[in-house]
């Protein structure tokens, strides 16, 4: 009887932002579930096994599957998770309610954009991959839906800033709490970063509707990468935020330095955006000295990640020692590896180390020649976004869904297993992809398993290809376990608020912001934002000016 009355009871009556966060996150995980389904098919492709003919009645070809994989996982899921975390955490931390009308508007806008873009993707009318390089031309609905989806994040920017400014008015002279500070820096960075995509959409939408005869492929590419690199920090920073503000507490310790965490986010605000040419090292049409300037700036953006590595590792050591770990490395064993959330972060950060080292290779103007557009690149970013970012989201879902719904986590053992398998599968796959790209120049996003010519050309790497098949199977099992756990948790009828985390596990800091000169300096958010904008103008202005004034429109084609 008690259970029945509980299900009828509105669990969100006094916390509507919980319902918003739950819907946003579950929409994201639903997109991830469909997008991830294609992942093993891609891994099998690079193992020489072509399963696409079996999907023929529904999905027409490899490139359609790859477009769905890239768009749903890297654009849709990541943005929805950011819209969950970077709104919900500050709201909880400040104890303020976000503007709920706008919050729901952003949810419906994201959903509408997603559905509009999904139609051409599912009909094979937009198999232009995640980068949609012109002159390959997709259906207008793809560009329009994607634009509506991305613009929903502008509502999130407003919601987060309004929340922060409301708090500041009520608390003059106080230092912004950490999670809120991170959210503000994050959304301002995204505003600056997203402008490239917004301007590109202003060309692509009229072009796809037939109102513009052509677009300039180099300009479209440059605008894409203007957003396309900082977007990786848009994916990463929610994971970093969770690692700074929740992981130390979940692991049983404290965050070692609050002011340093602020410095990290200011550095990301400054250096995330003016770095896009490192995706265009192999492009004609951008002068080498501009590429070198972006090389230097890209190297700078490694600094906040290096600081993060230190702070997170030191915070985990504090936790391990508080749990009774002794000696030089004994604290590692004393960490709560049985906690699926902590486990997800630990394994994710472990993968992030070789991923970061590979990123330095990609950012090196000359070394990039050997890996540009080979499978080294998907190997690299599956260690970053595919492992740390995704595992931070998966791990967080294990406590956040119960926290939001009052429904306890189902099958904790499977949750733990899913994270070990995900890590193992990604590690094997990315290892193989790095070597296949570097040693054998195997191209990325090519349907090689469907091409006897390509399989003959790349037969020397067959041992590495076998590893891709193995990883595909492991990752498929990991994904099935993970999605079972979260959907079984969210959809169960049973609420038991005593068995869930009542509050967001905000960590206490050892080194506090009060009295810290560094924290005072970072608090001048608008100054840092202005400086970031100036850096972008300096690093992009002259090149973009030249491109806009020398456009060579090219008509679109459909070749899939």
């Amino acid at each position: 009887m008690a259970v029945q009355t509980l299900t009828r009871f509105d669990a969100y009556a006094d916390a509507p932002e919980k319902k918003y966060a739950l819907y946003m996150m579950m929409l994201g995980f639903s997109a991830l579930a469909l997008g991830t389904f294609f992942g093993p098919l891609q891994a099998f492709n690079y193992g020489g096994l072509d399963l696409y003919p079996l999907l023929k009645p529904v999905f027409q070809n490899y490139y359609q599957g790859l477009s769905l994989h890239g768009v749903l996982n890297a654009i849709v899921f990541t943005q929805l998770f950011a819209q969950t975390i970077m709104i919900y955490l500050p709201a909880r931390e400040l104890g303020l309610r976000p503007n709920m009308k706008l919050a729901w508007a952003s949810f419906w806008m994201a959903l509408a954009g997603l559905l509009i873009a999904a139609v051409p993707l599912l009909l094979n009318e937009a198999s232009v991959l995640y980068t949609f390089y012109a002159p390959l031309k997709a259906s207008w609905a793809f560009y329009t839906g994607a634009a509506i989806f991305v613009l929903s994040s502008y509502l999130s920017i407003y919601i987060a800033l309004e929340l922060w400014l409301r708090w500041r008015r009520a608390n003059p002279g106080k230092i912004t709490p950490l999670a809120t500070f991170m959210a503000v820096a994050f959304w301002l960075m995204w505003f600056l970063a997203s402008l490239g995509l917004v301007v590109e959409a202003l060309f692509l939408i009229p072009w796809s509707l037939g109102l513009l005869p052509g677009v300039d492929p180099l300009l479209m590419r440059t605008l894409f990468w203007y957003t396309g690199h900082p977007i990786v920090y848009f994916w990463l920073l929610p994971a970093y935020t969770l690692a700074y503000v929740t992981l130390p507490k979940l692991a049983g310790g404290k965050l070692v330095s609050d002011p340093l965490a602020r410095l990290v986010f200011v550095l990301f605000l400054l250096f995330s955006v003016p770095v896009g040419f490192h995706h265009q090292f192999a492009d004609p049409g951008i002068a080498p000295y501009w590429k070198f300037i972006h090389t230097v700036l890209t190297m700078m953006v490694a600094v906040p990640s290096l600081i993060t590595a230190f702070t997170i590792a030191a915070s985990l050591e504090v936790a391990g020692r508080a749990n009774g770990g002794k000696g030089l490395l004994g604290w590692i064993a004393a960490l709560p590896w049985h906690n699926p959330t902590v486990l997800a972060f630990l394994l994710g950060f472990l993968a992030f180390i070789p991923g970061g080292a590979g990123g330095i290779v990609n950012a090196s103007f000359n070394l990039n020649q050997n890996v540009h557009n080979t499978v080294w690149i998907p190997g690299h970013f599956h260690l970053q976004v595919g492992t740390l970012v995704t595992m931070a989201a998966m791990g967080t879902a294990f406590w956040l869904i119960p926290h939001l719904t009052g429904k306890p986590l189902v099958a904790r053992g499977l949750a733990v297993a899913s994270q070990w398998l995900w890590f193992l599968g990604m590690f094997i796959m990315t290892f193989a992809l790095h070597w296949m790209g570097f040693l054998y120049a195997i191209p990325r996003r090519a349907h090689i398993s469907g091409s006897p010519l390509a399989m003959e050309a790349f037969k020397e790497s067959s041992a590495w290809m076998a590893l891709n098949i193995v990883s595909g199977v492991i990752l498929l099992v990991a994904a099935v376990l993970f999605f079972y756990v979260i959907f079984a948790t969210a959809l169960q009828g049973h609420r038991d608020p005593k068995r869930v985390l009542e509050e967001v596990p905000f960590a206490e800091a050892i080194s506090k912001p009060e009295g810290s000169g560094l924290a005072r300096v970072t608090e001048r958010v608008w100054f840092w934002f202005g400086l970031a904008a100036v850096l972008v103008v300096l690093a992009y202005g002259p090149v973009l000016y030249q491109m806009f004034t020398n456009m060579l429109p090219v008509p679109g084609v459909r070749l899939w």
């Binding site: 070809n61 490139y63 390089y133 492929p217 070692v256 004609p284 050997n370 557009n373 120049a441 090519a446």
Partner: protein
């Protein structure tokens, strides 16, 4: 706690210094290597109307020319192949490739070399290279260019 905090801060500073020093060394190394060890990063030599690549100008007749001791190659990368479809060079001589595309973006990567070009319609890319070993080298398109992308593999031959 006070004590622990100071120890951590000391390591923190040392680590940040190490990180910055490492980044500085990398930047200097990249610049030094690019200046002294040759570089094959493609550069642009101008713009061209892609709709006329097949009919007008040097790319309408894709070819390898020998000029003195050097070669110049004019190459079209199209969906899904390259013209000329086979190229021959003598080992140890400088080859300058000019590459463009009449349709969509392509890649032009020569295996076992540092040649890796993003071929963009409207742009003429230039890259020079001296092959030091004879043999067959595959040319691989590494940018998605449509349904036949994976078949877009060609070769060049370096003769002794």
């Amino acid at each position: 706690m006070e004590h622990q905090e100071h120890i951590i801060e000391r390591y923190e500073r040392a680590w940040i210094f190490f990180g910055l020093a490492m980044i500085a060394v990398f930047i200097i190394l990249i610049a030094y290597m690019m200046m002294t060890m040759g570089n094959t990063n493609p550069v642009s030599t101008g713009r061209i109307d892609p709709t006329k690549v097949r009919t007008e100008g040097v790319f309408a007749n894709p070819r390898v020319e020998q000029i003195g001791d050097e070669y110049v190659a004019y190459i079209q990368a199209f969906s899904f192949g390259y013209l000329p479809n086979e190229m021959r060079f003598k080992v140890g001589r400088k080859v300058t490739f000019y590459i463009t595309a009449p349709d969509v973006q392509h890649g032009f990567q020569v295996e076992h070399t540092n040649i890796n070009v993003q071929v963009i319609p409207g742009e003429i890319a230039k890259v020079s290279y001296t092959f030091s070993r004879p043999g067959e080298y595959r040319i691989i398109c590494n940018e998605y260019c449509g349904i036949g992308h994976a078949n877009m593999i060609s070769k060049l031959v370096v003769e002794p």
